[in-house]
C-alpha cells in the first residue's frame, strides 16, 4: 500500500468533481422537497433548502392518490421479511456448499452460479398468472415469496464460509456430539456474521428499490409499495413537484441512513465479491 502512486491536486480535483456529480441530484431532491411548489419555475433554479419541508410532508401523507404511508409500511414489511429469509437460507446453503460433503455438490453449485446469469425478470408473465391462481394478486405475498432466496446470496455466503469457518472447529463440534443443525447455529452462523450483515444490507436495499415486479402484480392503488406510491405521485395529472420530491426524498432516506451507517461494510462487501467472483 505504501508504494501506491501519490495523489496529485489534479486527482483530488477530478474526484471532487465526480463526488459532486454523485451527490448533487440527491442534495437537490432534498432542496426541492423543502421548498414551496413554485420552486420549479424559478430562474435560476434554487439550490439551498427552504422552510417548507414540514408542510410538504403533511400534504404528502394527506394525498389520497399515493397511499404513501401504506406504501412505506408495506415496503418495510416486504424488505424486512425478504432480508431475513435471504440471509437465513443463504447462510444455510452457503455453509452446506462450503463445508459439508454430499453427492452432486459441485454440479449443484454450478447451477446456482448459472441462475445468477439468467434474466428471470423475463418470467413475469407466467409469474403473474401463477399469482392469479394463488389469489395473491394485489397482496404482499406476491412480492415477498418469489424473493425469499437468491443465487447471489448463496454464492456469496459459500465463498465467505470457505475461508471464515474453521473446518477443525466443525470437526471438534462433531466429536463432541453436535448435530449439523447445532453446528450451523453455534459455529457457522457466528463466523459468518460480518458477511451475512453485508448480504442483509444489500438485500434490504435491492428489495426496497424493486419496481418492475411490484408494478406488475400490485395493481390495487390502495395497497402499494413505496416505489409504486412514487409512481402514482409522478404520473398524477396535476403535478406538485415539491410534494413529489418530498416523496422521493422520504423513500430514499432509509437507504441513505443504512449507507451512512454501514457504507464501509457495504463497500468492503462489493469489492471482496468482485475479487472472488
Amino acid at each position: 500500500m505504501s508504494r501506491l502512486w501519490r495523489a496529485s491536486p489534479l486527482t483530488y480535483g477530478a474526484l471532487l468533481a465526480a463526488a459532486f456529480l454523485s451527490i448533487f441530484p440527491i442534495y437537490w431532491m432534498f432542496v426541492v422537497a423543502s421548498r414551496s411548489s413554485d420552486a420549479m419555475g424559478q430562474v435560476p433554479p434554487p439550490v439551498t433548502p427552504g422552510g417548507n419541508l414540514g408542510a410538504n410532508i403533511a400534504r404528502l401523507f394527506d394525498n389520497t392518490d399515493a397511499y404513501f404511508l401504506t406504501g412505506l409500511i408495506n415496503s418495510a414489511i416486504v424488505s424486512t421479511v425478504v432480508t431475513a429469509s435471504v440471509v437465513f437460507f443463504s447462510t444455510l446453503a452457503g455453509f452446506a456448499f462450503a463445508k459439508l460433503r454430499f453427492r452432486g455438490r459441485n454440479a449443484l453449485l454450478l447451477v446456482i452460479i448459472a441462475t445468477m446469469m439468467v434474466p428471470t425478470q423475463l418470467g413475469v408473465i407466467p409469474l403473474y398468472m401463477l399469482m392469479t391462481k394463488l389469489n395473491w394478486n394485489d397482496r404482499l405475498p406476491a412480492v415477498i415469496v418469489p424473493a425469499l432466496v437468491t443465487g447471489f446470496g448463496v454464492f456469496m455466503m459459500r465463498q465467505y464460509a470457505g475461508q471464515a469457518v474453521s473446518t477443525e472447529l466443525i470437526e471438534a463440534a462433531r466429536v463432541d456430539g453436535c448435530g449439523t443443525a447445532r453446528i450451523y447455529w453455534n459455529v457457522v452462523l457466528p463466523a459468518l456474521r460480518p458477511a451475512a450483515a453485508v448480504l442483509g444490507l444489500l438485500t434490504f436495499m435491492t428489495t426496497w428499490n424493486d419496481f418492475l415486479w411490484p408494478y406488475a402484480v400490485l395493481n390495487d392503488p390502495e395497497n402499494p409499495t413505496v416505489q409504486l406510491s412514487l409512481r402514482a405521485l409522478s404520473d398524477g395529472y396535476y403535478q406538485d413537484m415539491s410534494q413529489v420530491f418530498t416523496g422521493t426524498a422520504i423513500a430514499t432516506l432509509p437507504l441513505l441512513l443504512v449507507f451512512v451507517l454501514f457504507g464501509r461494510q457495504i463497500i468492503g462487501g462489493i469489492m471482496e465479491g468482485a475479487v472472488k467472483a
Binding site: A18, V124, P146, S234, T248, F259
Partner: protein, 333 residues
C-alpha cells in the same frame, strides 16, 4: 468467473464399538442434512424462477389473453407477427441505442475513476462512499428527479445549456435526446459501482510490474493501457456481461422518466420505449395479451444472449492484441 471447489476428504464420524441409535442418527444427519439445507433455494427457485421462464415459452405459442376463456395453440404465429411489428423493432433499436451510449462511456469512466481511487488518498473511504452513493438510492426516485432535471421548460440541464448559449433541448420527445438523458441516469447510478469493482481488481495487480515498466521507460498512460487494462480483462468481461443483462432489460428508468398519458410507451411517439416496456404494454394493462408479451420476452432473452456473446468476443479480441498484456500475464503465473 472462476470457482474454487473444495476437494478435501470427507469427515469421518468418530467410530464407536457398537452402532447405537444416536450413532445411526448422526450418520443420517451427516449424509442427508446438506440436501435439506440447500433444498429451500432449489425449491423456491424452481417454482418462481425456472418454471415462469420456461412456461413463458409455452405461453408464447398460444393466443392467450387475460379474459379469453380458451387459449388456442397457434405455433409460431406470435413470433411471425412480432417479426413484422414495427413498434417492436423500434423498441429494439431504442434499447440497443440506450445500451451503447450508456455502457461504453460508463465503463471507460469507471476505469478512469478506479485509476484515480487507486492512489494513496486522504479520506479513502469517504471518496469511495461518495462515488457509490448513487447506487444505493431508489431507482424510481432517481428516475423522477432526472425527469425533472431534464425538463424542457424549467429543467436545470436546459438552464445550464442556456448559460453557455445552447438552445433548449427537448429531452422527452426528441428520440436521441431522450436516449442521452436516460443513459445519463443509468451511468449516474452504475459508474461508481463499476469503479469499485475495477478498483478491487486493480489492487490485486502486483506493484513491481509497474516498477519494472517504469524502469523500461513506460509512462503512466502507457502503464495504464499496457498493464492495468489487460490484467483487468476478466473483471471487465464480468462487468460487460452484467451490464448487458441489466442494460437490455432496462425498464424503471425510462418508464418513470416519462409521465402523463400512456407513459409505458416511453413518450408520445415511443421515443424511448425499451423492449421490456413493450413486453409490459402488451402483456399487462391495457392489452393483457399474455401470448404476444411472452413472445417479446423470449426474443429479448435471445437478444441478451447474442449481445452478451458478441461483447465478450469483442473484449477478448481487444485485450488479446495488447503485447504488454501477454507479457504481464506470463509474469504473474
Amino acid at each position: 468467473m472462476s470457482v474454487q471447489l473444495d476437494a478435501r476428504p470427507p469427515v469421518v464420524p468418530a467410530a464407536t464399538a457398537r452402532p447405537t441409535r444416536a450413532h445411526r442418527l448422526s450418520r443420517f444427519d451427516t449424509r442427508y442434512s446438506p440436501y435439506l439445507y440447500i433444498a429451500p433455494f432449489f425449491l423456491l427457485f424452481a417454482v418462481f424462477g425456472v418454471y415462469p421462464l420456461v412456461y413463458t415459452f409455452w405461453v408464447s405459442l398460444h393466443d392467450w389473453d387475460l379474459l379469453g376463456s380458451d387459449h388456442p395453440f397457434v405455433g409460431a404465429e406470435n413470433y411471425t407477427r412480432l417479426m413484422a411489428d414495427a413498434d417492436f423493432w423500434h423498441a429494439v433499436v431504442n434499447t440497443l441505442g440506450i445500451f451503447v451510449i450508456s455502457t461504453v462511456p460508463q465503463l471507460l469512466a469507471a476505469l478512469w475513476l478506479a485509476n484515480l481511487l487507486n492512489r494513496s488518498l486522504r479520506a479513502r473511504t469517504g471518496w469511495r462512499m461518495a462515488v457509490l452513493i448513487p447506487n444505493v438510492t431508489s431507482t424510481a426516485a432517481v428516475a423522477i428527479v432526472f425527469g425533472v432535471l431534464f425538463g424542457r421548460e424549467f429543467g436545470m440541464v436546459n438552464w445550464l445549456l442556456d448559460l453557455v448559449g445552447i438552445d433548449a433541448v427537448n429531452w422527452k420527445s426528441d428520440r436521441f435526446a431522450s436516449w442521452v438523458a436516460i443513459s445519463a441516469m443509468v451511468d449516474w447510478r452504475w459508474t461508481g459501482y463499476n469503479a469499485l469493482i475495477f478498483l478491487a481488481a486493480m489492487q490485486a495487480i502486483p506493484r513491481d510490474l509497474y516498477e519494472s515498466a517504469a524502469i523500461d521507460g513506460a509512462n503512466r498512460a502507457r502503464q495504464f493501457w499496457s498493464i492495468t487494462v489487460p490484467l483487468l480483462k476478466p473483471t471487465i468481461i464480468f462487468a460487460v456481461i452484467i451490464s448487458t443483462i441489466g442494460g437490455l432489460q432496462l425498464f424503471t428508468e425510462p418508464r418513470l422518466f416519462h409521465s402523463g398519458t400512456n407513459p409505458i410507451r416511453g413518450g408520445p411517439l415511443r421515443e424511448s420505449q425499451t423492449v421490456t416496456m413493450y413486453m409490459f404494454e402488451n402483456a399487462f394493462a391495457p392489452h393483457y395479451n399474455f401470448g404476444y408479451g411472452s413472445a417479446v420476452a423470449w426474443l429479448l432473452f435471445a437478444l441478451i444472449a447474442v449481445v452478451a456473446a458478441v461483447n465478450v468476443l469483442i473484449i477478448r479480441r481487444l485485450g488479446g492484441q495488447t503485447p504488454g498484456g501477454r507479457a504481464a500475464k506470463g509474469d504473474l503465473r
